[in-house]
């Protein structure tokens, strides 16, 4: 048998089911690994104390998992990366975590993230940035940076995160792992602290496509607590497709060369050739509205966020500051001390966009763009099975490099936001390594594949075949191959 920590979650699960692996031993090995976190990736680790009683597993038979700190866990600190929820222990457990527990997956810990999932570098966490395991001077991506870093950095076999405009796919790309954003509605959002409700979706961050399929199968399903959930009909099977024959992959014609680094382009083009080698066909598709995706996204997401985050007022839970008996002053002090600058920026953007007199020009217009983008994808999928792009315009950038330039930071989502707006599933798989344009050691590059709504099975099958064809096996230094 392989070294315990080298096994994929699927291999471990199969060994446990076959009786070849003691779950307790396996979980203990991961707990020990997690305890060695030097990446600031965990905000809370499960040490089986009194506080984690409510999230204990009855039947331990699935690999232990790291959970983004945006999912509520009864009795266990849940901060969403924000100061305003410091010390908050929710009275209930999110559906996603409950499903994991019911499946027999112990919770290893809660992972660091950009505050309320707003960010692409994990530098917006109130608890300090997560470091990229490939290069500790670089960001792991965001907002699910902690979840990506623990999987890539050998601190967890797999993890769950959330993706609103790319928050699973981009950190997965930056950390050289697999990240899947399912169709909107595939997994319940109940207990997932809301950033932008019409876009937020839970998904797996894993080492392999098979692990992602196994995890998606556990998480998906219609939930009576989430009116917008629908689940995936027929569930999810483990992928076993060996080639890509008969499948057409569309490359957006609008994908200019200016938007991304040359190293990323090289890997992207290599991957297109790999698809052809595997029998797939490359075609050009047109997504003319996608270039407006970022603009529409940065109206819709902040608008919803401005409303979703209004509940943090210091009255019922979380942080409370100031007031001296004056209600409005308490609201103001609590919110100005509790929220970080990016969260405040988005609350202001969103409040403005929804204001009387501006609603149509901003929110109304953005919704129209959103509809157009969805129509563009429907049109493309009439011709091709998948749409492919690089996941992110660059490899992981340096800590502090973009913190002073919010627009440059927002452009990280350029390739991932259109799929979020269209509500369709998209996966990022590691496709190779590339040098950053400004030099330095090689870093992972992600390849994004998007499919029509509820086309997860087909997407996983194709991603699996491509993953096998690429044979990406690089690991951060010190973690072995």
């Amino acid at each position: 048998m392989k070294d315990l920590l080298q096994m994929t979650a699927l291999e471990a699960h199969e060994a446990m089911v076959a009786g070849d692996l003691a779950a307790s031993e396996y979980t203990a090995a991961w707990k020990e690994a997690a305890a060695g976190d030097e990446l600031n990736a965990y905000l809370w680790r499960n040490e089986d104390g009194e506080d984690s009683k409510a999230i204990a597993v009855e039947r331990d038979c699935v690999a232990p998992i790291a959970v983004k700190d945006i999912f509520t866990t009864e009795g266990v600190p849940t901060t969403a990366g924000s100061r305003i929820l410091e010390g908050y222990r929710p009275p209930y457990t999110s559906t996603a975590v409950r499903k994991l527990l019911e499946a027999g997956a112990p919770i290893l810990g809660k992972t660091n993230m950009d505050e309320f999932a707003m960010g692409s570098s994990n530098e917006n966490s109130a608890y300090g940035p997560v470091l990229n395991p490939w290069d500790r001077g670089r960001v792991p991506g965001g907002s699910s940076g902690g979840s990506a870093a623990v999987v890539a950095g050998g601190l967890a076999p797999w993890a769950i995160g959330t993706d609103t405009g790319g928050s699973i796919r981009q950190p997965a790309a930056f950390c050289g792992i697999v990240g899947l954003k399912p169709t909107y509605g595939a997994i319940s959002r109940y207990g997932m602290i809301a950033f932008a409700s019409s876009l937020d979706q839970c998904g797996p961050l894993t080492r392999t496509v098979s692990d992602a399929a196994l995890l998606l199968g556990i998480l998906q399903g219609k939930d009576p607590c989430d009116s917008t959930s629908v689940g995936l009909e027929g569930g999810v099977s483990l992928p076993d497709r060996e080639d890509l024959s008969g499948l057409r992959f569309g490359v957006p014609a609008e994908l200019g060369h200016d938007e991304y680094d040359s190293g990323v382009r090289t890997v992207f083009e290599q991957t297109l050739r790999k698809i052809e080698e595997l029998g797939g066909e490359i075609a050009e598709v047109s997504l003319p509205s996608s270039e407006h995706g970022i603009s529409a996204y940065y109206v819709i997401a902040p608008a919803e966020a401005s409303s979703n985050l209004a509940r943090y007022d210091g009255v019922r839970y979380g942080m409370r500051a100031g007031g001296d008996g004056d209600l409005v002053q308490m609201y103001e002090t609590t919110r100005s001390e509790g929220f970080g600058p990016e969260v405040k920026r988005r609350i202001m953007l969103g409040t403005y966009a929804l204001s009387s007199g501006y609603y149509e020009a901003y929110y109304g217009q953005a919704q129209k763009v959103r509809t157009r983008i969805a129509e563009d994808f429907s049109g493309a999928f009439a011709d091709v099975d998948f749409v492919v792009t690089p996941t992110a315009p660059s490899v992981a950038f340096g800590l502090g490099e973009k913190t002073d330039d919010p627009l440059a930071m927002y452009m990280n989502d350029f390739f991932t936001v259109p799929m979020s707006l269209a509500g369709i599933p998209a996966i990022s798989i590691p496709a190779g390594l590339a040098e950053p344009d400004d030099g330095g050691p090689q870093l992972p590059v992600g390849f994004q594949i998007a499919a029509p709504a509820f086309g997860e099975q087909k997407l996983l099958d194709a991603a699996y075949a491509l993953e096998q064809g690429i044979g990406f096996d690089a690991r951060p230094e010190g973690l072995g191959g």
Binding site: I70, F71, T72, T78, A80, L85, Y88, P90, P91, Y92, S94, R189, Y190, G191, M192, I193, A194, A196, S197, S198, P224, C225, D226, S227, T228, A303, E304, S306, S307, A310, R311, Y312, D313, V315, R316, Y317, G325, L327, Y331, T351, L354, S355, S356, Y359, Y363
Partner: protein
């Protein structure tokens, strides 16, 4: 200056009597210990999501059907954003541009719309005023937070305060008979706000309106609207203009104080609630809503007026379906007696007799069967007994039930048929009351009462009042 006409529209909040809250599973309650009916959802903990209450949707559809509203094939929920401790999410889930119920009508008043929303939590302001201004502290009770509400908005079709109060009563009765709400104004399960304006009579344009809140009885509604109309009339007549504002009515002093002006009006930043899918009622739900409707007051009033009943009597019966059912049984047993006469007996004499005998419950619960009442009315109609004797028989029946004919026999109440005997009694009564006779001669018609009274005493009420009157006049003129 032309006379100023009042223009009044109402906004009515109806708390639905569902088992649980609008968007979570917490039980509804009134008067329980504070904050016992709460959960992560209605306390707006991070990550929670609303799930619509199906019973509330059914009730809203029933209200829509009762108010003849157009039902939207696809309505949506919006978020109404505002910061206040009674709203833990800092937004209320309500409906905005596409409500579940569109245009409708109840009686003479058009309905603009009716929509579903959730109630706010209850604020208790500690201190003398009982209001947030000047209170020492404010407490929040989340038991009420999230209670399903239907807000009904009328067109400005009402023209005076009394009419507004009367129509509001009709609406309450309609909703009460649907069984979808307790419609208790004091407990707040029915809350009426009024939009009030004035304009020159005959004008089509609407004047600037003010909104009146906190009128927790129909009497206060009428008084509040009257007070505001008087204020606006005086203001306009003295050359001033009405400012758009929200007013709080204080029933104790009868005064109106400004809650907020137009400038202070909130920007609620409405946007579609992304946590909920559109509300699309199925054909079956729509049919169920229509078929579940009982005969509602408006329809009953129309039917009774058709039968010849006066509006007031029809309204009295329509607001009391059990008594109305009793009345209809009496009509059936009365076979040919005018329903108008029977209705007057049911709502007049019988109700009075029950009250006098301090019997609990209405006619339907009394010991008098509908055929027996019909029989009694027939005895009076056919002048077998006098009206006064009829009331006596009724009083006996209220106590012990029984056949009216037997009671007439037993008590010797049969009308005096021998006019010779009655004539003698009348003559004696006139002779015993010379003062009264003199007064009548001098033109004081009322004085006849003394003589009639004496005859009735003598005959123990068996005489027909009309006949006695005729005899007295005859004697006087001879």
């Amino acid at each position: 200056m032309a006379e100023l006409e009042a223009v009044i529209g109402l906004e009515i909040h109806v708390q639905l009597a569902t088992k649980t809250k609008m968007f979570c599973g917490c039980e509804l309650s009134f008067g329980d210990e504070p904050n016992v009916h709460t959960c992560p959802v209605c306390l707006a903990h991070p990550g929670v999501l609303p799930v619509p209450n199906e019973q509330a949707i059914r009730y809203a559809l029933q209200i829509g059907a009762a108010l003849n509203c157009e039902i939207a094939p696809r309505s949506i929920f919006h978020r109404k954003n505002y910061f206040y401790p009674d709203s833990p999410k800092a937004y209320q889930i309500s409906q905005y541009d596409i409500p579940i119920c569109g245009a409708g009508r109840l009686g003479d008043v058009r309905i603009h719309r009716a929509h579903l929303e959730e109630d706010a939590a209850k604020m208790i302001h500690v201190g003398e005023s009982g209001r947030i201004h000047g209170s020492g502290a404010s407490l929040v009770d989340f038991n009420r937070g999230g209670t399903p509400l239907v807000e009904i908005v009328t067109e400005p079709d009402l023209r005076d305060a009394a009419e507004a109060a009367q129509w509001a009563r009709l609406l309450r009765e309609t909703i009460r008979q649907l069984g979808v709400s307790d419609v208790n104004m004091e407990e707040g399960s029915l809350r009426v706000d009024a939009n009030v304006s004035v304009r020159p009579a005959g004008s089509e344009e609407l004047g600037t309106k003010t909104e009146l809140k906190n009128m927790n009885s129909f009497r206060f509604l009428q008084r509040g609207v009257e007070a505001e109309l008087a204020r606006q009339r005086q203001l306009v007549e003295s050359g001033g203009t009405v400012e758009q504002e929200t007013l709080h009515f204080d029933p104790a002093s009868g005064s109106l104080t400004s809650l907020r002006s137009k400038e202070e009006a909130h920007d609620y930043r409405y946007f579609p609630e992304p946590d909920l899918v559109p509300l699309v009622p199925s054909e079956e739900q729509l049919r169920e809503a229509r078929e579940s409707l009982p005969e509602l007051p408006v329809a009953r009033i129309a039917r009774y007026e058709e039968m010849g009943l006066a509006y007031d009597v029809a309204l009295t019966l329509a607001t009391d379906p059990r008594t109305a059912g009793y009345f209809e049984n009496v009509v059936e047993a009365g076979d040919g007696i005018e329903p108008r006469v029977l209705a007057n007996w049911v709502t007049g004499e019988l109700a009075a007799a029950l009250r006098q005998a301090e019997v609990d419950g209405g006619a339907a619960d009394s010991r008098i069967s509908p055929p027996d009442l019909a029989k009694l009315v027939r005895l009076v109609q056919e002048k077998k007994i006098s009206h006064g004797s009829g009331k006596k028989v009724l009083a006996a029946m209220v106590k012990g039930g029984g056949d009216p004919e037997e009671i007439v026999e037993r008590e010797g109440l049969a009308q005096m048929s021998d006019s010779g005997e009655l004539e003698a009694i009348v003559e004696k009564a006139m002779a015993d009351n010379p003062d009264a006779v003199e007064k009548i001669r001098e033109g004081n018609g009322k004085a006849i009462g003394a003589i009639v009274g004496a005859v009735m005493r003598e005959t123990k009420g068996r005489a027909d009042g009309g006949e006695v009157n005729r005899l007295i006049q005859q004697k006087l003129n001879s």
